[in-house]
Symmetry: C2
Subunit: 181 residues, 2 copies
DNA sequence: GTCTATAGAGCGATAGAC
DNA sequence: GTCTATCGCTCTATAGAC
């Protein structure tokens, strides 16, 4: 065989994640990825039909990692929140892609759905019939916290308190408790 | 005069906002902006030394608009939140730039500081000594809500409830009240 | 202050050989 | 399945004329 396989879809995906974390979404290019894998750009099109399809695959991979992480959490919503924030902080670009990527196929979307269901179920003991609304509220709070940290809002001269993560979470949970009375 | 002024920094800024809203941050290019103003790209460099400086100016403009909007709010934190969400929804790309733009000079940063102070002061009657932590919590929730809406989380097959904005806000305020007891 | 012209670099994607 | 070669397009920024 004059041209044996030098790579695979899985290898490409792994390298893509590396490049994504290194240079953000714009830093993940077909050419750069090919260079990382010591291939010519054209070779990648045998595995992913376009850059967009590759991005979707990476996003789905991130979704799978997050789902696995959250599935391992045994405790209360606070532990779930910690795990979510941990993922977002450790893989900022992957998290960003996870949150903004459109163009997912049905199989990829299903991973997202599973994550949503998991969170809703975990909140049900606390929020009962408002479990979905509570899930969105918690999600929004956590997602916003990540965004705020990334925007550098703590770097201004106003001396904003850094240890507000648990304060806000406590506020939400206290609100839930006061509502179920 | 062979080359009379055809534009001004203010005109450029206004056109830049238009372009930004039309095509996002990546859609605001020197060339596109010049075309919009019927100028050659080079002419713009007389007014802004680089694309980055232009982006900072646009971000500061957005910050000024938001500050003015929030200043006009008379009522409770709920009204403040509504005005914030309104700005983010009506000017999505401007809001995005506002939240992510670095490289601001001292004068531009000052607008951000004023906004922060305004929110903290408005929350003091409700949150007292925890006014700053409450401000960050509220900000994170609102910012996250905007991000979630934009990510299309409501478009999945899970039938997530759309009317959670006031639910979450109520949760936070209830939490604050239960804490001040 | 605006112009023409260009340097210098990046990108996704395709055609066709092997 | 990978290669070489290339099309066609994008962009920021600068040099120097008027």
């Amino acid at each position: 065989m004059p041209y044996p396989a030098k790579t695979s879809a899985g290898q490409i995906l792994a390298a893509a994640v590396t490049l994504l974390e290194r240079g953000g979404q714009a830093g993940l290019t077909i050419r750069g990825l090919a260079a990382e894998l010591q291939l010519t750009p054209n070779a990648l099109y045998r595995y992913y039909p376009s850059r967009e399809a590759l991005l979707s695959a990476v996003a789905a991979h991130g979704a799978g990692v997050l789902l696995a992480n959250l599935s391992r959490v045994a405790g209360d919503p606070g532990a779930l929140a910690d795990q979510y924030l941990r993922f977002a902080r450790e893989h900022p670009a992957l998290y960003d892609l996870y949150m903004t990527c459109g163009n997912l196929n049905a199989e990829q979307q299903h991973i997202y759905s599973q994550t949503w269901s998991l969170v809703v179920e975990r909140l049900r003991p606390l929020a009962g019939p408002h479990s979905q609304a509570a899930a969105i509220t918690l999600w929004a709070y956590l997602h916003g916290l990540v965004g705020l940290e990334r925007s550098g809002v703590y770097e201004g001269p106003e001396n904003k308190p850094r240890d507000t993560q648990s304060f806000g979470l406590g506020l939400l949970l206290a609100g839930l408790r006061s509502q179920s009375e």
